[in-house]
Amino acid sequence: MLGPFDYVLVLLGLLTEAYVVVRLCLAENFLRYFSLNIYMLGVVGVTIGQDFVLLKFGVSSPLYAYVYYYTDALLTISLFFVIMSFYHQVFRQMSVGKYVRWASVLLLSGTALLSYLIVRRMPNHHLTSRFVVEMSQNLYFVGVVLTYLLWGAVVKLRETRTRLIQLVLALGIFFSADAAGYALRNLFPALEPSFLKWVPPMAGLFLPLAWAYTFTKISEDARLETARVALPRMAAHQHS
């Protein structure tokens, strides 16, 4: 059974996600951040769908577990396209859009292949709790690696667009918190009911909140030196 705090998190998340899309539409930036908008709309749709299944079948039903974990995996994969769009923005001036597109296709194929191999390895193809936790952990970890590489490129290429910097960093916080949360669940399942069950909803709320903050407060023209933001060692690499 979900408590009032769960519902507050869900409602706040829905409102923030809708706000981001509306804000970008009003600023005529829907196409500029196309994959981000699609992801946000996807989250809204999935959340409503999950809540419908939850109310109809209950939190402990296998159907809810299927819907929750598979839609979450699909959303994570769709977030990879958001990362790719950020790569595209970072490398735009270097005219490497073609390579970024190829990298997206390779990434998607690789993720699909990996997921297939994982599912094939499982006996009876059952959605066991251990399997879904492992799958989510791996998907989020791919996100951490991709975002970290993107952040490295941002620092190395001395990207100064404050918006882009904050969008990437918020994505990094989201992916790494979720990957760490799922890995800890895998290592210490006993911690799940008391503490770790809050990590995905909190991280899920942080991302739209951080993006809403960026789109509201940071103008498209705002600039920031990455050396001021990156950790000293990364900034030193930038200057070398």
Binding site: T162, A180, L184
Partner: protein
């Protein structure tokens, strides 16, 4: 084994992303200079703010009417200040360079709150002036 590795790498990445995110918020306020008035109120000489003044500055900020656009920033910077306090304490014996870096970061957080206070004082003054003119 793989889960442990993923956990360690993800926690390290999380810390790095969070530190950079907090610094990106603080950096925006670094460009602002403190007014004479706020320096007098807080007892600051020059443009540098001591990291130990953070708590007092936060209390003063809470006394000022909210402009409404810096609450999230203050929360993020508050968490970052606390985190740097932990880093400073943990690294004191082992790595003096990290200690001094954490101290500089804490001073940056205090400067951030001083600028927020400055903006709120200016906002209050404008509000008061508006009310006086309405009468």
């Amino acid at each position: 084994m793989i889960a442990a590795l993923i956990c360690v790498i993800s926690v390290a990445a999380f810390l790095q992303f969070f530190i950079s995110y907090s610094r990106s918020i603080i950096a925006a306020y670094r460009k602002s200079e403190l007014s004479e008035q706020v320096r007098e109120v807080v007892g600051i000489e020059g443009q540098e703010v001591n990291s130990d003044q953070f708590g007092r500055l936060v209390q003063l900020v809470r006394l000022c009417p909210q402009k409404g656009d810096d609450r999230t920033d203050l929360k993020v910077v508050g968490v970052y200040y606390w985190m740097m306090g932990v880093v400073r304490s943990a690294a004191r014996q082992l790595a003096p360079r990290i200690t001094s870096w954490a101290e500089r970061e804490r001073a940056g957080c205090a400067y951030f709150v001083a600028v927020a206070l400055d903006r709120r004082i200016a906002y209050s003054r404008d509000l008061l002036a508006q009310q006086m003119s309405d009468r």
